[in-house]
Protein backbone atom coordinates (compact mmCIF):
# COMPACT_ATOMS: atom_id res chain seq x y z
CA UNK A 1 0.00 0.00 0.00
CA UNK A 2 2.84 2.35 0.91
CA UNK A 3 4.57 1.51 -2.33
CA UNK A 4 1.40 2.30 -4.25
CA UNK A 5 1.17 5.72 -2.59
CA UNK A 6 4.73 6.55 -3.58
CA UNK A 7 4.10 5.46 -7.15
CA UNK A 8 0.92 7.49 -7.41
CA UNK A 9 2.93 10.67 -6.78
CA UNK A 10 4.86 10.25 -10.01
CA UNK A 11 3.30 12.23 -12.84
CA UNK A 12 3.85 9.43 -15.34
CA UNK A 13 1.76 7.09 -13.22
CA UNK A 14 -0.98 9.70 -12.95
CA UNK A 15 -0.91 10.22 -16.71
CA UNK A 16 -1.11 6.49 -17.31
CA UNK A 17 -4.14 6.21 -15.03
CA UNK A 18 -5.94 9.17 -16.64
CA UNK A 19 -5.32 7.93 -20.16
CA UNK A 20 -6.09 4.33 -19.21
CA UNK A 21 -9.44 5.24 -17.67
CA UNK A 22 -10.47 7.39 -20.64
CA UNK A 23 -9.50 4.81 -23.24
CA UNK A 24 -11.21 2.04 -21.34
CA UNK A 25 -14.37 4.15 -21.08
CA UNK A 26 -14.48 5.03 -24.77
CA UNK A 27 -13.71 1.57 -26.06
CA UNK A 28 -16.33 -0.07 -23.88
CA UNK A 29 -19.05 2.39 -24.93
CA UNK A 30 -18.65 1.57 -28.59
CA UNK A 31 -17.83 -2.07 -27.86
CA UNK A 32 -21.47 -2.92 -27.14
CA UNK A 33 -22.56 -1.63 -30.54
CA UNK A 34 -19.67 -3.29 -32.32
CA UNK A 35 -20.30 -6.70 -30.78
CA UNK A 36 -24.04 -6.52 -31.45
CA UNK A 37 -23.62 -5.34 -35.02
CA UNK A 38 -21.21 -8.24 -35.62
CA UNK A 39 -18.47 -5.72 -36.33
CA UNK A 40 -15.96 -7.06 -33.79
CA UNK A 41 -13.61 -8.03 -36.60
CA UNK A 42 -13.43 -4.45 -37.87
CA UNK A 43 -11.78 -3.44 -34.59
CA UNK A 44 -9.20 -6.14 -35.08
CA UNK A 45 -8.55 -5.22 -38.70
CA UNK A 46 -8.22 -1.54 -37.89
CA UNK A 47 -5.72 -2.14 -35.12
CA UNK A 48 -3.41 -3.85 -37.60
CA UNK A 49 -3.85 -0.99 -40.03
CA UNK A 50 -2.88 1.37 -37.23
CA UNK A 51 0.28 -0.69 -36.68
CA UNK A 52 1.17 -0.45 -40.36
CA UNK A 53 0.54 3.29 -40.32
CA UNK A 54 2.73 3.62 -37.24
CA UNK A 55 5.55 1.85 -39.08
CA UNK A 56 5.19 4.13 -42.09
CA UNK A 57 5.24 7.17 -39.82
CA UNK A 58 8.38 5.83 -38.17
CA UNK A 59 10.12 5.31 -41.50
CA UNK A 60 9.19 8.78 -42.68
CA UNK A 61 10.57 10.21 -39.42
CA UNK A 62 7.41 12.14 -38.73
CA UNK A 63 7.78 14.16 -35.57
CA UNK A 64 4.20 13.53 -34.51
CA UNK A 65 3.10 10.15 -35.79
CA UNK A 66 -0.41 10.63 -34.36
CA UNK A 67 -1.10 13.11 -37.17
CA UNK A 68 -0.46 10.41 -39.74
CA UNK A 69 -1.78 7.32 -37.95
CA UNK A 70 -5.14 8.83 -37.05
CA UNK A 71 -6.22 9.87 -40.58
CA UNK A 72 -4.85 6.64 -42.09
CA UNK A 73 -6.87 4.53 -39.67
CA UNK A 74 -10.03 6.58 -40.19
CA UNK A 75 -9.72 6.12 -43.95
CA UNK A 76 -9.21 2.39 -43.50
CA UNK A 77 -12.31 2.28 -41.28
CA UNK A 78 -14.42 3.95 -43.96
CA UNK A 79 -13.08 1.61 -46.64
CA UNK A 80 -13.64 -1.51 -44.52
CA UNK A 81 -17.21 -0.52 -43.81
CA UNK A 82 -17.86 -0.01 -47.53
CA UNK A 83 -16.56 -3.43 -48.53
CA UNK A 84 -18.11 -5.20 -45.57
CA UNK A 85 -21.58 -4.09 -46.60
CA UNK A 86 -22.04 -5.45 -50.07
CA UNK A 87 -21.37 -9.13 -49.86
CA UNK A 88 -20.51 -10.75 -46.58
CA UNK A 89 -17.84 -13.20 -47.69
CA UNK A 90 -15.99 -10.74 -49.83
CA UNK A 91 -16.07 -8.25 -46.96
CA UNK A 92 -14.58 -10.78 -44.58
CA UNK A 93 -11.78 -11.57 -46.96
CA UNK A 94 -11.12 -7.88 -47.57
CA UNK A 95 -10.73 -7.24 -43.87
CA UNK A 96 -8.41 -10.22 -43.45
CA UNK A 97 -6.32 -9.04 -46.39
CA UNK A 98 -6.05 -5.48 -45.21
CA UNK A 99 -5.25 -6.35 -41.63
CA UNK A 100 -2.65 -9.03 -42.32
CA UNK A 101 -1.21 -7.01 -45.19
CA UNK A 102 -0.80 -3.95 -42.99
CA UNK A 103 0.87 -6.04 -40.31
CA UNK A 104 3.35 -7.62 -42.74
CA UNK A 105 4.20 -4.41 -44.59
CA UNK A 106 4.53 -2.57 -41.31
CA UNK A 107 7.05 -5.04 -39.96
CA UNK A 108 8.89 -5.17 -43.29
CA UNK A 109 9.25 -1.39 -43.38
CA UNK A 110 10.43 -1.32 -39.79
CA UNK A 111 13.08 -3.97 -40.49
CA UNK A 112 14.38 -2.50 -43.71
CA UNK A 113 14.48 1.13 -42.65
CA UNK A 114 15.08 0.62 -38.99
CA UNK A 115 16.93 3.43 -37.27
CA UNK A 116 16.88 2.05 -33.78
CA UNK A 117 19.19 -0.55 -32.38
CA UNK A 118 16.44 -2.47 -30.71
CA UNK A 119 14.05 -3.45 -33.49
CA UNK A 120 12.27 -6.33 -31.78
CA UNK A 121 11.82 -4.13 -28.72
CA UNK A 122 10.18 -1.43 -30.84
CA UNK A 123 7.88 -3.89 -32.57
CA UNK A 124 6.97 -5.48 -29.29
CA UNK A 125 6.08 -2.10 -27.85
CA UNK A 126 3.82 -1.25 -30.78
CA UNK A 127 2.13 -4.64 -30.77
CA UNK A 128 1.72 -5.13 -27.03
CA UNK A 129 2.09 -1.55 -25.79
CA UNK A 130 4.51 -2.76 -23.13
CA UNK A 131 5.79 0.53 -21.79
CA UNK A 132 4.51 3.33 -24.00
CA UNK A 133 1.74 4.28 -21.60
CA UNK A 134 4.32 5.06 -18.94
CA UNK A 135 6.22 7.40 -21.22
CA UNK A 136 3.37 9.68 -22.27
CA UNK A 137 4.07 13.36 -22.78
CA UNK A 138 1.75 16.06 -21.45
CA UNK A 139 0.66 16.88 -25.01
CA UNK A 140 -0.33 13.27 -25.63
CA UNK A 141 -2.34 13.20 -22.44
CA UNK A 142 -4.24 16.33 -23.48
CA UNK A 143 -4.86 14.96 -26.96
CA UNK A 144 -6.24 11.83 -25.38
CA UNK A 145 -8.46 13.80 -23.01
CA UNK A 146 -9.79 15.93 -25.87
CA UNK A 147 -10.58 13.01 -28.14
CA UNK A 148 -12.12 10.98 -25.32
CA UNK A 149 -14.41 13.81 -24.28
CA UNK A 150 -15.47 14.17 -27.93
CA UNK A 151 -16.20 10.44 -28.15
CA UNK A 152 -18.28 10.45 -24.96
CA UNK A 153 -20.27 13.53 -26.04
CA UNK A 154 -20.94 12.04 -29.46
CA UNK A 155 -22.02 8.79 -27.88
CA UNK A 156 -24.46 10.48 -25.48
CA UNK A 157 -25.93 12.78 -28.12
CA UNK A 158 -26.43 9.96 -30.60
CA UNK A 159 -27.26 7.26 -28.07
CA UNK A 160 -30.85 6.75 -29.23
CA UNK A 161 -29.90 6.77 -32.87
CA UNK A 162 -27.00 4.40 -32.30
CA UNK A 163 -29.43 2.06 -30.55
CA UNK A 164 -31.93 2.27 -33.41
CA UNK A 165 -29.28 1.62 -36.06
CA UNK A 166 -27.75 -1.23 -34.06
CA UNK A 167 -31.01 -3.01 -33.36
CA UNK A 168 -32.58 -2.75 -36.79
CA UNK A 169 -30.87 -0.90 -39.60
CA UNK A 170 -33.66 -1.43 -42.15
CA UNK A 171 -36.33 -0.11 -39.81
CA UNK A 172 -34.21 2.90 -38.93
CA UNK A 173 -33.64 3.69 -42.60
CA UNK A 174 -37.31 3.19 -43.42
CA UNK A 175 -38.31 5.67 -40.74
CA UNK A 176 -35.96 8.32 -42.03
CA UNK A 177 -32.78 7.81 -40.00
CA UNK A 178 -29.70 8.09 -42.15
CA UNK A 179 -28.24 4.74 -41.15
CA UNK A 180 -25.23 4.97 -43.48
CA UNK A 181 -24.19 8.22 -41.90
CA UNK A 182 -24.34 6.68 -38.43
CA UNK A 183 -22.44 3.59 -39.52
CA UNK A 184 -19.78 5.94 -40.84
CA UNK A 185 -19.80 7.86 -37.58
CA UNK A 186 -19.40 4.63 -35.61
CA UNK A 187 -16.51 3.52 -37.82
CA UNK A 188 -14.71 6.86 -37.46
CA UNK A 189 -15.15 6.90 -33.70
CA UNK A 190 -13.84 3.33 -33.52
CA UNK A 191 -10.79 4.31 -35.54
CA UNK A 192 -10.10 7.19 -33.15
CA UNK A 193 -10.45 4.92 -30.14
CA UNK A 194 -8.13 2.33 -31.63
CA UNK A 195 -5.42 4.84 -32.32
CA UNK A 196 -5.75 6.13 -28.76
CA UNK A 197 -5.73 2.65 -27.32
CA UNK A 198 -2.51 1.69 -29.07
CA UNK A 199 -0.70 3.58 -26.33
CA UNK A 200 -2.41 1.59 -23.65
CA UNK A 201 -2.48 -2.00 -24.77
CA UNK A 202 -0.73 -2.02 -28.13
CA UNK A 203 -2.30 -2.83 -31.45
CA UNK A 204 -2.72 -6.58 -30.97
CA UNK A 205 -4.71 -6.36 -27.77
CA UNK A 206 -7.12 -3.52 -28.58
CA UNK A 207 -9.93 -5.82 -29.63
CA UNK A 208 -9.90 -7.31 -26.15
CA UNK A 209 -10.55 -3.89 -24.65
CA UNK A 210 -13.49 -3.38 -26.99
CA UNK A 211 -15.05 -6.83 -26.82
CA UNK A 212 -14.52 -8.22 -23.31
CA UNK A 213 -16.39 -5.60 -21.23
CA UNK A 214 -19.35 -5.69 -23.63
CA UNK A 215 -19.50 -9.49 -23.62
CA UNK A 216 -19.25 -9.58 -19.81
CA UNK A 217 -22.02 -7.02 -19.39
CA UNK A 218 -24.24 -8.92 -21.83
CA UNK A 219 -24.07 -11.99 -19.57
CA UNK A 220 -25.89 -10.22 -16.77
CA UNK A 221 -27.86 -7.25 -18.04
CA UNK A 222 -31.04 -7.26 -20.06
CA UNK A 223 -31.43 -3.69 -21.24
CA UNK A 224 -29.25 -1.86 -23.72
CA UNK A 225 -28.73 0.94 -21.24
CA UNK A 226 -27.82 -1.52 -18.50
CA UNK A 227 -25.33 -3.30 -20.72
CA UNK A 228 -23.75 -0.03 -21.85
CA UNK A 229 -23.37 1.40 -18.34
CA UNK A 230 -22.15 -1.88 -16.87
CA UNK A 231 -19.66 -2.35 -19.67
CA UNK A 232 -18.27 1.15 -19.14
CA UNK A 233 -17.94 0.76 -15.37
CA UNK A 234 -16.42 -2.69 -15.71
CA UNK A 235 -13.95 -1.59 -18.36
CA UNK A 236 -12.74 1.37 -16.30
CA UNK A 237 -12.41 -0.78 -13.18
CA UNK A 238 -10.44 -3.42 -15.03
CA UNK A 239 -8.15 -0.82 -16.60
CA UNK A 240 -7.37 0.82 -13.23
CA UNK A 241 -6.78 -2.56 -11.58
CA UNK A 242 -4.63 -3.71 -14.48
CA UNK A 243 -2.47 -0.58 -14.45
CA UNK A 244 -1.98 -0.71 -10.66
CA UNK A 245 -1.09 -4.41 -10.74
CA UNK A 246 1.35 -3.89 -13.57
CA UNK A 247 3.05 -1.05 -11.71
CA UNK A 248 3.30 -2.96 -8.43
CA UNK A 249 4.54 -6.23 -9.92
CA UNK A 250 6.11 -4.71 -13.05
CA UNK A 251 4.14 -6.81 -15.50
CA UNK A 252 3.41 -5.56 -19.04
CA UNK A 253 0.52 -3.05 -18.83
CA UNK A 254 -1.52 -4.13 -21.85
CA UNK A 255 -1.59 -7.84 -21.20
CA UNK A 256 -2.29 -7.28 -17.50
CA UNK A 257 -5.37 -5.20 -18.30
CA UNK A 258 -6.59 -7.79 -20.76
CA UNK A 259 -5.96 -10.55 -18.20
CA UNK A 260 -8.09 -8.64 -15.66
CA UNK A 261 -10.79 -8.26 -18.33
CA UNK A 262 -10.73 -12.01 -18.94
CA UNK A 263 -11.10 -12.68 -15.20
CA UNK A 264 -14.06 -10.30 -15.07
CA UNK A 265 -15.63 -12.08 -18.02
CA UNK A 266 -15.30 -15.45 -16.28
CA UNK A 267 -16.77 -14.03 -13.07
CA UNK A 268 -19.73 -12.60 -15.00
CA UNK A 269 -20.27 -15.91 -16.78
CA UNK A 270 -20.34 -17.66 -13.42
CA UNK A 271 -22.69 -15.06 -11.97
CA UNK A 272 -25.04 -15.52 -14.92
CA UNK A 273 -25.00 -19.29 -14.40
CA UNK A 274 -25.77 -18.91 -10.71
CA UNK A 275 -28.52 -16.43 -11.43
CA UNK A 276 -29.79 -18.70 -14.18
CA UNK A 277 -31.82 -15.87 -15.67
CA UNK A 278 -30.09 -15.35 -18.96
CA UNK A 279 -28.83 -18.89 -19.40
CA UNK A 280 -29.72 -19.45 -23.02
Amino acid sequence: MEMLKTYLQFPFVQYALIVGVLIALCSSLLGVTLVLKRFSFIGDGLSHVAFGAMAVAGVLHLSDDMLFVLPATVIAAVLLLRTGKHTRIKGDAAIAMISVGALAVGYLLLSVFSTSANLSGDVCTTLFGSTSILTLTVAEVWLCIGLSVAVVIIFILFYNRIFAVTFDEDFARASGTRAEAYNLLIAIVIAVIIVLAMNLVGSLLISALIIFPAMSAMRLFKSFKGVTVCSAVLSVTCAVLGILISILWSTPVGSTIVAVDICAFLIFCLAAKVKGGTAK
Binding site: L36, K37, R38, I156, L157, F158, Y159, N160, R161, F163, A164, T166, F167, D168, D170, F171, A172, R173, A174, S175, G176, T177, M218, F221, K222, S223, F224, K225, G226, V227, T278, K280
Partner: protein
Protein backbone atom coordinates in the same frame (compact mmCIF):
# COMPACT_ATOMS: atom_id res chain seq x y z
CA UNK B 1 -56.29 10.58 -53.78
CA UNK B 2 -54.51 7.37 -52.93
CA UNK B 3 -52.03 7.06 -50.05
CA UNK B 4 -49.58 5.20 -52.25
CA UNK B 5 -49.51 5.00 -56.03
CA UNK B 6 -47.00 2.95 -57.97
CA UNK B 7 -47.02 3.48 -61.70
CA UNK B 8 -44.94 1.58 -64.23
CA UNK B 9 -42.66 0.46 -61.44
CA UNK B 10 -39.59 -1.60 -62.39
CA UNK B 11 -37.81 -3.40 -59.58
CA UNK B 12 -34.34 -4.76 -59.37
CA UNK B 13 -31.03 -4.72 -57.59
CA UNK B 14 -27.43 -4.99 -58.71
CA UNK B 15 -28.54 -4.11 -62.22
CA UNK B 16 -30.85 -7.13 -62.47
CA UNK B 17 -34.54 -6.52 -63.06
CA UNK B 18 -36.83 -8.71 -60.99
CA UNK B 19 -40.23 -7.26 -61.81
CA UNK B 20 -41.32 -4.69 -64.34
CA UNK B 21 -44.34 -2.61 -65.22
CA UNK B 22 -46.04 -2.78 -61.83
CA UNK B 23 -49.16 -0.61 -61.47
CA UNK B 24 -51.18 -0.42 -58.29
CA UNK B 25 -52.61 2.01 -55.77
CA UNK B 26 -53.41 1.80 -52.10
CA UNK B 27 -56.18 3.90 -50.56
CA UNK B 28 -56.57 4.82 -46.91
CA UNK B 29 -57.98 1.88 -44.95
CA UNK B 30 -57.05 -0.75 -47.53
CA UNK B 31 -55.59 -4.10 -46.55
CA UNK B 32 -53.33 -5.14 -49.39
CA UNK B 33 -51.60 -8.51 -49.47
CA UNK B 34 -48.67 -8.97 -51.80
CA UNK B 35 -48.41 -12.65 -52.68
CA UNK B 36 -46.30 -14.71 -55.06
CA UNK B 37 -43.78 -17.51 -55.11
CA UNK B 38 -40.40 -17.33 -53.42
CA UNK B 39 -38.02 -15.24 -55.46
CA UNK B 40 -40.81 -13.45 -57.31
CA UNK B 41 -39.66 -10.11 -55.94
CA UNK B 42 -42.08 -9.59 -53.03
CA UNK B 43 -39.41 -8.50 -50.57
CA UNK B 44 -37.69 -6.37 -53.21
CA UNK B 45 -41.00 -4.62 -53.81
CA UNK B 46 -41.41 -4.00 -50.09
CA UNK B 47 -37.88 -2.60 -49.79
CA UNK B 48 -38.45 -0.38 -52.81
CA UNK B 49 -41.67 1.01 -51.33
CA UNK B 50 -39.76 1.72 -48.12
CA UNK B 51 -37.07 3.57 -50.03
CA UNK B 52 -34.33 1.11 -49.06
CA UNK B 53 -33.79 0.22 -52.73
CA UNK B 54 -34.05 2.67 -55.61
CA UNK B 55 -36.65 1.66 -58.22
CA UNK B 56 -35.11 0.70 -61.57
CA UNK B 57 -37.88 2.62 -63.31
CA UNK B 58 -41.34 4.07 -62.81
CA UNK B 59 -42.63 6.14 -59.96
CA UNK B 60 -43.79 5.83 -56.36
CA UNK B 61 -46.06 8.65 -55.20
CA UNK B 62 -47.20 9.24 -51.64
CA UNK B 63 -50.48 11.00 -51.03
CA UNK B 64 -52.89 12.17 -48.35
CA UNK B 65 -50.26 13.92 -46.30
CA UNK B 66 -48.23 10.76 -46.00
CA UNK B 67 -44.52 11.17 -46.40
CA UNK B 68 -42.04 8.47 -47.22
CA UNK B 69 -40.71 8.09 -43.69
CA UNK B 70 -44.10 8.12 -42.02
CA UNK B 71 -44.74 4.45 -42.64
CA UNK B 72 -44.42 1.83 -39.94
CA UNK B 73 -42.32 -1.12 -40.99
CA UNK B 74 -42.49 -4.62 -39.53
CA UNK B 75 -39.42 -6.36 -40.90
CA UNK B 76 -38.50 -10.01 -40.74
CA UNK B 77 -36.39 -10.76 -37.70
CA UNK B 78 -32.65 -10.66 -38.20
CA UNK B 79 -29.95 -12.80 -36.62
CA UNK B 80 -28.68 -9.76 -34.74
CA UNK B 81 -31.98 -9.39 -32.90
CA UNK B 82 -32.12 -12.98 -31.67
CA UNK B 83 -29.77 -12.32 -28.75
CA UNK B 84 -30.03 -8.56 -28.49
CA UNK B 85 -29.91 -7.22 -24.93
CA UNK B 86 -32.66 -4.62 -24.92
CA UNK B 87 -35.91 -4.19 -23.03
CA UNK B 88 -39.28 -4.12 -24.74
CA UNK B 89 -39.64 -0.47 -23.82
CA UNK B 90 -36.32 0.52 -25.38
CA UNK B 91 -37.25 -1.19 -28.64
CA UNK B 92 -40.76 0.26 -28.87
CA UNK B 93 -39.44 3.72 -28.08
CA UNK B 94 -36.91 3.45 -30.90
CA UNK B 95 -39.91 3.56 -33.25
CA UNK B 96 -40.21 7.26 -32.40
CA UNK B 97 -36.81 7.95 -33.94
CA UNK B 98 -38.18 9.36 -37.19
CA UNK B 99 -40.54 11.58 -35.19
CA UNK B 100 -37.78 12.91 -32.95
CA UNK B 101 -35.77 14.05 -35.97
CA UNK B 102 -32.64 15.87 -34.95
CA UNK B 103 -33.54 16.01 -31.28
CA UNK B 104 -31.08 13.73 -29.42
CA UNK B 105 -33.49 12.49 -26.74
CA UNK B 106 -37.12 11.38 -26.66
CA UNK B 107 -39.62 13.75 -25.05
CA UNK B 108 -42.57 12.96 -22.82
CA UNK B 109 -45.02 12.88 -25.72
CA UNK B 110 -43.00 10.18 -27.46
CA UNK B 111 -42.67 8.15 -24.29
CA UNK B 112 -46.44 8.32 -23.85
CA UNK B 113 -46.93 7.22 -27.43
CA UNK B 114 -44.68 4.21 -26.87
CA UNK B 115 -46.63 3.37 -23.72
CA UNK B 116 -49.99 3.61 -25.48
CA UNK B 117 -48.83 1.37 -28.29
CA UNK B 118 -47.50 -1.22 -25.86
CA UNK B 119 -50.89 -1.17 -24.18
CA UNK B 120 -52.59 -1.52 -27.55
CA UNK B 121 -50.51 -4.60 -28.36
CA UNK B 122 -51.08 -6.06 -24.88
CA UNK B 123 -47.38 -6.03 -23.94
CA UNK B 124 -47.35 -3.27 -21.34
CA UNK B 125 -46.62 -5.78 -18.58
CA UNK B 126 -43.58 -6.95 -20.52
CA UNK B 127 -42.14 -3.41 -20.82
CA UNK B 128 -39.11 -4.12 -18.65
CA UNK B 129 -38.53 -7.65 -19.89
CA UNK B 130 -35.65 -8.51 -22.18
CA UNK B 131 -36.57 -8.91 -25.83
CA UNK B 132 -34.56 -12.11 -26.35
CA UNK B 133 -36.46 -13.90 -23.57
CA UNK B 134 -39.88 -13.41 -25.19
CA UNK B 135 -41.74 -15.91 -27.32
CA UNK B 136 -41.94 -15.46 -31.09
CA UNK B 137 -45.48 -14.06 -30.91
CA UNK B 138 -44.56 -11.62 -28.17
CA UNK B 139 -41.54 -10.45 -30.15
CA UNK B 140 -43.76 -9.75 -33.16
CA UNK B 141 -46.08 -7.71 -30.94
CA UNK B 142 -43.09 -5.68 -29.75
CA UNK B 143 -42.00 -4.96 -33.32
CA UNK B 144 -45.59 -4.13 -34.26
CA UNK B 145 -45.83 -1.66 -31.36
CA UNK B 146 -42.58 -0.10 -32.58
CA UNK B 147 -43.96 0.18 -36.12
CA UNK B 148 -47.08 1.87 -34.73
CA UNK B 149 -44.88 4.47 -33.04
CA UNK B 150 -43.49 5.39 -36.44
CA UNK B 151 -46.88 5.80 -38.14
CA UNK B 152 -50.51 6.54 -37.57
CA UNK B 153 -51.65 5.63 -41.02
CA UNK B 154 -49.74 2.96 -42.88
CA UNK B 155 -48.11 -0.31 -41.83
CA UNK B 156 -45.84 -2.34 -44.09
CA UNK B 157 -45.24 -5.91 -42.99
CA UNK B 158 -42.82 -8.47 -44.32
CA UNK B 159 -44.06 -12.01 -43.60
CA UNK B 160 -45.38 -11.10 -40.13
CA UNK B 161 -46.35 -14.66 -39.20
CA UNK B 162 -43.33 -16.59 -40.44
CA UNK B 163 -42.01 -18.92 -37.76
CA UNK B 164 -45.08 -18.61 -35.51
CA UNK B 165 -47.16 -21.60 -34.46
CA UNK B 166 -50.74 -21.88 -35.87
CA UNK B 167 -52.48 -20.53 -32.76
CA UNK B 168 -50.22 -17.48 -32.49
CA UNK B 169 -50.48 -16.99 -36.26
CA UNK B 170 -54.27 -16.74 -35.99
CA UNK B 171 -53.89 -14.29 -33.08
CA UNK B 172 -51.48 -12.19 -35.09
CA UNK B 173 -53.85 -12.06 -38.08
CA UNK B 174 -56.71 -10.99 -35.80
CA UNK B 175 -54.53 -8.29 -34.27
CA UNK B 176 -53.64 -6.94 -37.71
CA UNK B 177 -57.29 -7.04 -38.79
CA UNK B 178 -58.20 -5.10 -35.64
CA UNK B 179 -55.62 -2.41 -36.48
CA UNK B 180 -56.95 -2.24 -40.02
CA UNK B 181 -60.50 -1.73 -38.70
CA UNK B 182 -59.21 1.14 -36.58
CA UNK B 183 -58.23 2.81 -39.82
CA UNK B 184 -54.60 1.83 -40.32
CA UNK B 185 -53.76 0.96 -43.91
CA UNK B 186 -51.99 -2.39 -44.12
CA UNK B 187 -49.62 -3.60 -46.82
CA UNK B 188 -48.38 -7.12 -46.17
CA UNK B 189 -46.02 -9.44 -47.97
CA UNK B 190 -47.08 -13.02 -47.47
CA UNK B 191 -46.69 -16.43 -49.06
CA UNK B 192 -49.87 -17.65 -47.35
CA UNK B 193 -52.38 -17.11 -50.16
CA UNK B 194 -55.26 -18.72 -48.26
CA UNK B 195 -54.90 -16.34 -45.31
CA UNK B 196 -54.40 -13.41 -47.67
CA UNK B 197 -57.72 -14.11 -49.36
CA UNK B 198 -59.43 -14.48 -45.97
CA UNK B 199 -58.19 -11.23 -44.40
CA UNK B 200 -57.17 -8.76 -47.11
CA UNK B 201 -59.30 -6.36 -49.12
CA UNK B 202 -56.93 -6.22 -52.10
CA UNK B 203 -54.42 -8.63 -53.58
CA UNK B 204 -51.28 -7.93 -55.57
CA UNK B 205 -49.99 -11.15 -57.08
CA UNK B 206 -46.49 -10.87 -58.49
CA UNK B 207 -44.45 -13.33 -60.50
CA UNK B 208 -44.60 -14.40 -64.11
CA UNK B 209 -48.23 -13.21 -64.16
CA UNK B 210 -49.26 -10.08 -62.34
CA UNK B 211 -52.67 -9.47 -60.78
CA UNK B 212 -53.91 -6.44 -58.89
CA UNK B 213 -57.46 -5.98 -57.68
CA UNK B 214 -59.95 -6.71 -54.94
CA UNK B 215 -60.12 -10.08 -53.23
CA UNK B 216 -63.46 -10.82 -54.89
CA UNK B 217 -61.95 -10.33 -58.36
CA UNK B 218 -58.89 -12.30 -57.37
CA UNK B 219 -60.96 -15.33 -56.35
CA UNK B 220 -62.47 -15.36 -59.85
CA UNK B 221 -59.10 -15.14 -61.61
CA UNK B 222 -57.45 -18.21 -63.12
CA UNK B 223 -54.28 -17.34 -61.24
CA UNK B 224 -55.97 -17.55 -57.85
CA UNK B 225 -57.78 -20.76 -58.70
CA UNK B 226 -54.47 -22.41 -59.44
CA UNK B 227 -52.89 -21.17 -56.23
CA UNK B 228 -55.83 -21.73 -53.92
CA UNK B 229 -56.54 -25.23 -55.22
CA UNK B 230 -52.91 -26.05 -54.72
CA UNK B 231 -53.05 -24.91 -51.11
CA UNK B 232 -56.37 -26.44 -50.20
CA UNK B 233 -55.56 -29.68 -51.98
CA UNK B 234 -52.40 -29.94 -49.93
CA UNK B 235 -52.94 -32.67 -47.30
CA UNK B 236 -50.47 -31.03 -44.91
Amino acid sequence: MAQLTCSGLDLGYDGRTVLSGLDFRVNAGDYLCIVGENGSGKSTLMKTILGLIRPAGGKITWGEGLRENEVGYLPQQTVVQKDFPATVQEIVLSGCQGRAGRRPFYNKEEKDLARRNMERMGILLLARRCYRELSGGQQQRVLLARALCATRKLLLMDEPVSGLDPLVTAEMYELIRELNREGVTVIMVSHDVAAAVRYASHILHVGSEIFFGTVADYRESALAKRFLVQEEGDPA
